[in-house]
């Protein structure tokens, strides 16, 4: 038995990364960044607001949270809808209670089906980022380039039509991209994407069509990861986020401004027995001097001129 000789050929074994999307960079040796005002730790909260068709598509892959049982899967269809009609309003109230402006990454289907939700988001001063068309709109290599371009355009158009403004940011379903995605997002004129989770601060991604910002929306610091995947409690979620905040604060004096992203899912954290832990977390963060809730577009605006 032996392997194809090419298995021991390492064509991209070279200085730096094995791709051209971004260069390697050490967070602790970069020019420190500074947030405006007294902020030292910026907290962008991103809420994924999703609509799952009861007829799921697994092309190119089945979205996390999608239908599980044989058709018709009332259980998952309605539990996700619970997040949209009930849980999300608990989240909005929790944000209002601490004066937090957030980023809602919404499927275009939400705007089409429930335009009043979009109006409520806009009226409260929150930002809307694009998050594909609906939860069948997954992206991965193998998706035809024109189909992907069209999917991105429909996601942006659908939000703009109801919100009145075109989204500046993008979150892929499951943060999954094809080789083409960064270039197509640049071509769509977006300012930032939230998909790459390799850093604690935003950095620039380079494509043949230009650059855009990646704001790392740490998938570990999400209710889906901590509560749904790792099966920990909402209280543990709160503790972990508070511990993270305190650690990041401790780095500020030596290394400059820090960012603590929080990724929320209405049907996860918006449940009656979990929302209290989120409210407590938001209260703790609001009361810490130097910690501010900034929507992703504001993170992008404040930081764009400070990074190469």
């Amino acid at each position: 038995m032996s392997l194809d000789p090419n298995y021991l050929v390492y064509e991209r074994r070279r200085r730096g990364m094995d791709h051209d999307l971004y260069p390697w960079s050490n967070l602790f040796e970069r020019q420190p960044i500074a947030w405006e005002g007294n902020t030292v730790v910026a907290v962008p909260i991103v809420v994924s607001l999703e609509w799952f068709p009861i007829q799921p598509s697994a092309t190119p892959f089945l979205a996390p949270g999608h239908m599980q049982t044989a058709y018709p899967d009332y259980r998952h269809y309605t539990a996700r809808e619970y997040g949209t009609r009930v849980g999300f309003y608990r989240l909005l109230d929790a944000f209002a209670a601490v004066g937090a402006k957030v980023t809602v990454a919404a499927n275009a289907a939400i705007a089409e089906r429930y335009p009043s939700i979009i109006r409520d988001i806009v009226a409260a001063g929150h930002e809307i980022a694009a998050h594909s068309t609906d939860m069948n709109g997954t992206i991965a290599s193998g998706l035809d380039e024109d189909a992907e371009r069209s999917l991105i355009a429909r996601a942006l158009d659908g939000i703009e039509k109801v919100a009145g403004t075109r989204p500046r940011g993008w979150l892929s379903i499951a943060r999954s991209q094809s080789w083409n995605t960064p270039r197509l997002l640049v071509q769509a004129g977006l300012d930032y994407m939230l998909d790459w989770v390799n850093d604690d601060l935003p950095y620039r991604i380079t494509t043949p069509s230009g650059t855009m910002l990646n704001i790392p929306l740490n998938h570990e610091l999400s209710d889906r990861q901590i509560v749904t995947v790792q099966q920990q409690s909402a209280e543990s979620f709160r503790t972990q986020l508070e511990d993270a905040c305190m650690w990041l604060e401790s780095e500020v004096a030596r290394f400059g401004g820090r960012m603590l992203p929080i990724h929320l899912t209405p049907y996860v954290m918006g449940l009656p027995y979990r929302i209290g832990a989120l409210e407590a977390l938001l209260g703790t963060l609001r009361d810490r001097p130097g910690v501010s809730f900034l929507p992703a577009s504001e993170v992008s605006r404040q930081i764009a001129s400070q990074i190469a």
């Binding site: 032996s2 074994r13 200085r15 099966q231 511990d243």
Partner: protein
């Protein structure tokens, strides 16, 4: 190993009771070594017929970027905490990191850390290699680490824990003295090889941070508690005969802001306890080869005799 037999014949049976005691330097009861896996995962590796690398079509954005977090953020945070509390690293190294990001290898070397090989990349698996191919990756490992650090590797942790039936014989033939791939004991012991002298170094998957967080789904504080319990027990048992505790780490996990603070408390606990020989894997191997190997082999013969 005895290829094709039900018992691979890796080592002799030696029950935990009635062994000739191991004595660590300065009367310490437990040898503690911390093993950061400094890795490079390729974004688009070739396929190995025996194991898939990424679960998604390339690029697997979250899989890749999560691991890339280690090299941009996690390593530096983790290494500083280790140095602060007097813990050197014994690095399980994807040796191609010497080409891709030599800054990390140089940083670890400057901190007095030891390097052993974890293959070329953690996305190139040994399954299916013929002898010449396997010799090539061992020789590549020895040469690459020597050129980058001046160190001669003495240990091996198979890339992504992928083996062939001849791996242990080959690394011993090349003069390596310890393997981290066998999990049958809390003390080092002789391993049967065709030539040279090889020992098993307790490495532990059970308290590996990957297992802690993603197999057992522990919270950061629960994982820290598990490490402290593991340490306290092995330190107590080591009063009779010296034990080994390895703390295997991945900077993309332990270096996250919600985890590093709890982990620092573990290092503080062990450093303050006084019973720990805080050291490197190669130092443990040297000490055991000089002071414990022969009695362990004699014990094995005695147990075999008694068992008949």
């Amino acid at each position: 190993m005895r290829e094709g037999e039900a018992d691979p014949g890796l080592y002799d049976f030696r029950p935990y009771r009635d062994r000739t005691p191991i004595r660590w330097p300065d009367g310490k009861s437990i040898a503690v070594w911390v093993s950061p896996n400094l890795e490079y995962y390729e974004i688009d590796p070739p396929a190995n017929p025996h194991r898939k690398s990424w679960t998604k079509p390339h690029p697997d954005v979250v899989g890749y970027a999560h691991r890339d977090y280690a090299n941009r953020v996690g390593h530096w945070r983790m290494a500083e905490v280790m140095s602060k509390h007097g813990f050197p690293g014994s690095v399980s190294l994807s040796v191609a990191l010497c080409q891709h990001i030599p800054e990390i290898v140089a940083d670890a070397n400057a901190r007095g850390w030891e390097f052993f090989s974890h293959g070329i990349y953690n996305t190139r698996y040994s399954y299916g290699m013929d002898e010449a191919q396997e010799r090539a990756i061992i020789e590549d490992s020895i040469r690459t680490v020597r050129e980058a650090t001046g160190q001669t590797i003495r240990g091996w942790l198979a890339p992504a824990l992928t083996h062939t039936p001849r791996t242990l014989d080959l690394i011993a033939e090349y003069g390596l003295t310890y393997t981290c791939d066998l999990y049958h004991d809390d003390q080092p012991g002789p391993v049967h090889v065709k030539s040279g002298k090889l020992i098993s170094m307790p490495y532990s998957l059970e308290v590996n941070d990957h297992y802690g967080f993603f197999i057992y789904n522990m919270s950061p504080r629960d994982y820290a508690d598990a490490l402290i319990r593991q340490y306290d027990r092995l330190a107590a048992e080591g009063e009779t005969s010296g034990t080994v505790m390895c703390i295997p780490l991945h900077a993309y996990l332990i270096g996250q802001p919600h985890r590093i603070g709890a982990f620092e408390e573990v290092l503080r606990h062990i450093a303050a306890d006084g019973r720990a020989w805080i050291t490197r894997s190669g130092d443990i191997a040297d000490h055991f080869l000089a002071n414990g190997y022969d009695s362990a082999a004699a014990d094995a013969a005695r147990f075999a005799e008694n068992g008949r």
